[in-house]
Amino acid sequence: MAALLRTRLFAVYVVLVAATCVSWILGADHGSGSHTTVAAIVLVVAFVKVWLVGHEFMELGGALQPLKGIFEAYVVVVLAVLLVLYNVV
């Protein structure tokens, strides 16, 4: 169990759960900023999480091209399109 807690995968998992809690708090408390700013932050955090799941859990960080490139392009392009559609950039 102690060995498990020292793994890179567990560290990534802790970051992912922490990021979920940050989004949860930000999304539930819109009084702390404009809706647009909060939406942009929540979306960026979501796609950082997607990248982490893909890079670490799906092992795409060590994958061959073009698979790795397709995944990374997906993360960047879909996030950019959503931000544009939401008129926050």
């Binding site: 979920t20 979306l43 979501a46 997607v50 670490e56 859990f57 060590g62 994958a63 995944f71």
Partner: protein, 194 residues
């Protein structure tokens, strides 16, 4: 702890699973865009509708899927090790991941029940139409994933795993990670962004 540079660079799983995973991710990207366009065009409707959702249910389900995903990633690594003890560990880890997947389905079913009891159905408005359609499609993926995890438990429990067995385990695991990854975006879009 091995890093990509320390081990041979290779893609996990079979090519076919990646064609499916990338294709499915693109389909869901269209769903994401549809939700964002609704939020941009009808912010009041989305805000009022989201206020009637349980953010706690959505967040708990996110944590359940993230937990299942890390357990699956650990199981894949255990299955790569030689020896029955490692494979038994992989089987247990897949079993815990399966429990998380079942927990997700139970919470989602309870959430549907609560919303329907409150009169919030797909015909209520555009937001709830999208909410039910997109989460139901995702729930179908979770249901299929639960079947995949049962299969991975059986496969990984073998005392000796062949290269093909390990490839199949990686393929099944990649599918489950995709299920997690899609929810990671659906949750904030449906419950938080308005």
């Amino acid at each position: 702890m091995s890093t990509p540079s320390a081990r041979a660079r290779r893609s996990p799983g079979e090519v076919g699973i990646w064609v499916f995973v990338i294709g499915d991710m693109i389909v869901f990207a269209v769903f994401f865009a549809v939700i964002v366009v609704l939020a941009a065009e009808q912010p009041d409707l989305v805000r009022e509708s989201q206020a009637r959702l349980s953010v706690t249910s959505g967040a708990l389900n996110t944590i359940l899927l993230l937990t299942s995903s890390v357990l699956v990633a650990l199981a894949v690594r255990a299955a790569r090790e030689p020896g029955a003890a490692h494979h038994l560990r992989a089987r247990k880890l897949f079993g815990f991941a399966l429990a998380c997947g079942l927990g997700f389905a139970v919470i989602k079913a309870a959430e549907y029940g609560t919303k329907i009891d409150a009169g919030l159905v797909p015909a209520t408005n555009d937001f709830f139409a999208y909410f039910y359609v997109f989460t139901a499609i995702h729930l179908l993926h979770v249901t299929a994933g639960i079947g995949v995890l049962v299969w991975l438990m059986r496969l990984s429990g073998r005392p000796a795993l062949t290269a093909k067995d390990r490839m199949l385990i990686e393929s099944g695991a990649s599918y489950w990670h995709m299920v997690d990854l899609l929810w990671v975006v659906l949750f904030p879009l449906l419950y938080l962004v308005n």
